[in-house]
């Protein structure tokens, strides 16, 4: 509300998240943010640094180290008419609040026959890359994408980080936003012409004709880099940023598959029983006869994410593996 920019502005993903929160709180008295270390410490990834001083500890609230407690409190606040933003330090910790998120937040609107809405937003950090070891580095957003009653967002760009929060808060359903930890420091120019984004569609970040690379979140920029390398080989890869993990934007995916006939899914989640498996299954169900090659996946190895830097790097999808998978499909390797 306060900002009406006319020139492009460069900022980090972290700053975009902060401005989105600030905007939301200033715009609506029902909005507040709570979580561990968000106020006095400024957030474990410094997203909320300085916000408590500006907006007060009524609106930026530190909570005890009790995910089940404060996520439950957030659900109660939403039921009572507030628009809470609950921050969970990392998706690994959200497992302590799984009961609140799945059994309460996702279910109450349905079990009450629509009498109660749970208009809350839960933000979580996700992913590996900072040597935080297996209890802080996993990509479990695919689990949440399994749950009816939730919407699951994965902003990868600065623009999405800046503008996805507003429609998420406007949504009457609980909406989960996953922020990959390796994205916080990324910088990009914000297009002044864009002041809002949807939380419905996937976006083609790079058009191509030979192979579709489907990804989201922290893997998007690795995938775009891979697409650039593939171009040097004469392979034009189309890159889809899912943006919304639930519900999936199948028309965008199927439209791309119909053009390129080849698919590589890149996901930092594991393969088994995963979002990448779901996408592959839907493509086979809905576009089998469009396929000109088997679907390939580049995912994390099926190990808890290691602490050691070289092992951590080896465990998650990297550019060479994406290039190899796509090249193989196109060149018959």
């Amino acid at each position: 509300m306060s900002d009406t920019r006319t020139t492009s502005q460069r900022m980090t993903y972290r700053e975009a998240c902060k401005q989105a929160i600030r905007d939301a709180i200033l715009a609506d008295p029902r909005v507040f943010l709570m979580g561990e270390d968000v106020a006095r410490y400024g957030g474990c990834y410094a997203v909320t640094k300085g916000l408590a001083d500006e907006l007060g500890e009524e609106r930026i609230r530190d909570t005890p180290l009790s995910e089940g407690g404060y996520v439950g409190a957030g659900i109660g606040a939403a039921l009572a008419g507030m628009r809470p933003i609950v921050e969970i330090m990392t998706v690994n910790f959200s497992l302590l609040a799984l009961d609140q998120i799945v059994n309460s937040a996702a279910s109450i609107p349905h079990m009450s026959g629509g009498q109660f809405a749970v208009p809350m937003v839960i933000r979580m950090a996700t992913g590996a890359g900072r040597q935080l070891a297996a209890q802080h580095s996993h990509s479990l957003e695919g689990w949440y994408a399994h749950i009816p009653g939730l919407k699951v967002l994965a902003p990868a760009t600065v623009e999405d980080a800046r503008y996805m929060l507003k429609p998420a808060l406007d949504d009457p359903n609980p909406v989960l936003i996953f922020e990959h930890i390796m994205l916080y420091a990324r910088e990009d120019d914000l297009d002044p012409a864009v002041t809002a984004v949807d939380i419905v569609s996937a976006k083609i970040r790079r058009p191509g004709r030979d192979v579709t690379l489907i990804t989201y979140g922290g893997s998007l920029f690795k995938t775009l880099e891979a697409a650039e390398l593939l171009r040097q080989d004469g392979i034009e890869a189309e890159v889809i940023d899912l943006r919304v993990l639930r519900p999936l934007d199948m028309p965008t995916i199927l439209g791309s598959v119909a053009r390129t006939r080849r698919v590589v899914i890149v996901d930092e989640g594991w393969k088994s029983g995963s979002l990448s498996a779901e996408i592959a299954a839907r493509i086979v169900e809905q576009a089998f006869f469009e396929l000109d090659a088997p679907i390939r996946r580049v995912c994390s190895h099926e190990v808890p994410i290691p602490y050691a830097a070289h092992l951590e790097e080896a465990a998650v999808p990297q550019v060479p593996a994406i290039v190899a998978a796509a090249r193989g499909l196109v060149k018959g390797e």
Binding site: R261, F288, F289, E290, L291, D292, A293, L329, G332, E333
Partner: protein, 396 residues
Amino acid sequence: MPSLGADMEAGTLVEWMVKPGDSVKRGEVVAVVETQKGAIEIEIFNSGVVSELVVPVGERVPVGTILARIGGAMPAAAAPPKPPAAAEAQPPTPPAPPVVAPRPVMPVVPVALPAAAAPARKPVSPAARRLAAERGVDLQQLTGTGPGGAITVSDVEAAKPTPPPVEVTRRRTGFDPAAMRQAIGAAMSRSKREIPHYYVTQTVEISAALRRLEKMNSERPPPLRVLPAALFLRAIALAMAKTPELNGFWEDGRLRPGDGLHIGWAIALRGGGLVAPAIRDAGQRSLDELMAAMRDLVQRARASGLRGSELSDPTVTVTSLGDRGAESVLPIIYPPQVAMIGIGRIVTRPWVVDGAIGPRPVVTVTLAGDHRASDGHRGGILLAEIDRLLQESETL
């Protein structure tokens, strides 16, 4: 399209010998199919009235494709019913109230043939398969450039559409030696890959047997004379009764005994290649009957007049190299059979009889057995029995 052997993937229908409305009896020849083994007459396995010819002449279809439908009754009233030829003999029927559902039609596909493992399917992408169907491109002719050698859309796009068959009435064109080479290669490769062969060999002294034949033939005109091969076949047919584990098929990890003893008789074809059509119930045929059956098979095999069932029936195979062959042969079992017997050329060799060495006619009989189904000990029993029977050839 019946499978006429473990190595058959597809066949071309070259002639229909019946038309819709014809009454057919089980065993009647209804069509001619061109395979890698030449033109084969296809017998129907059910009696009834032909209701529909599904596959047109000239079309090549995979094994298992429905060629035609037969029913006990006429097809449903969707099409104006044509009275079958046999209907004139029947009393006129009043228009039937529409309460009788048409009887289910039966496909003309023989069932329960020895199940052969399907040959590795050529990988074709779903999109390429669809495009090929649209453009009439024969996927079998393409080489894939996709992952794992799969045929992709670009491979189909690069291919020329298969021209429609120019001569749809061709039949009995004989066999294509290259195609047969391929079929033999596939079957024999599978055999050597899958079947743990054991071999047992016995050299049989046959002077008594040959004397008997000579005596018998001296009283006969040449067309009725009996060759030594028929005598060997007779001995084998009788001896096989003692070792049922050598007669049948290896399927799903176990032996399925043959439903009778049907000996495949290997026949070399002019121009290369061979077939081994069945002499059914060989154990119940006399020497003369076996000789007649062998003559008939050789003649028809070389004229491409074999029947489908003859190629799929054999429960064991015998190859006899004849008087221009080698001295002995180590046969390769024809899957999914479990044994094959090879007979070498009759040769004169020094032989010890009653402590003295003398020249004697001998022949080397070799059994190749599938070690999953039997052991060499049983194979030895078979050879000993063949030897014994040939020594007492008067009884054969």
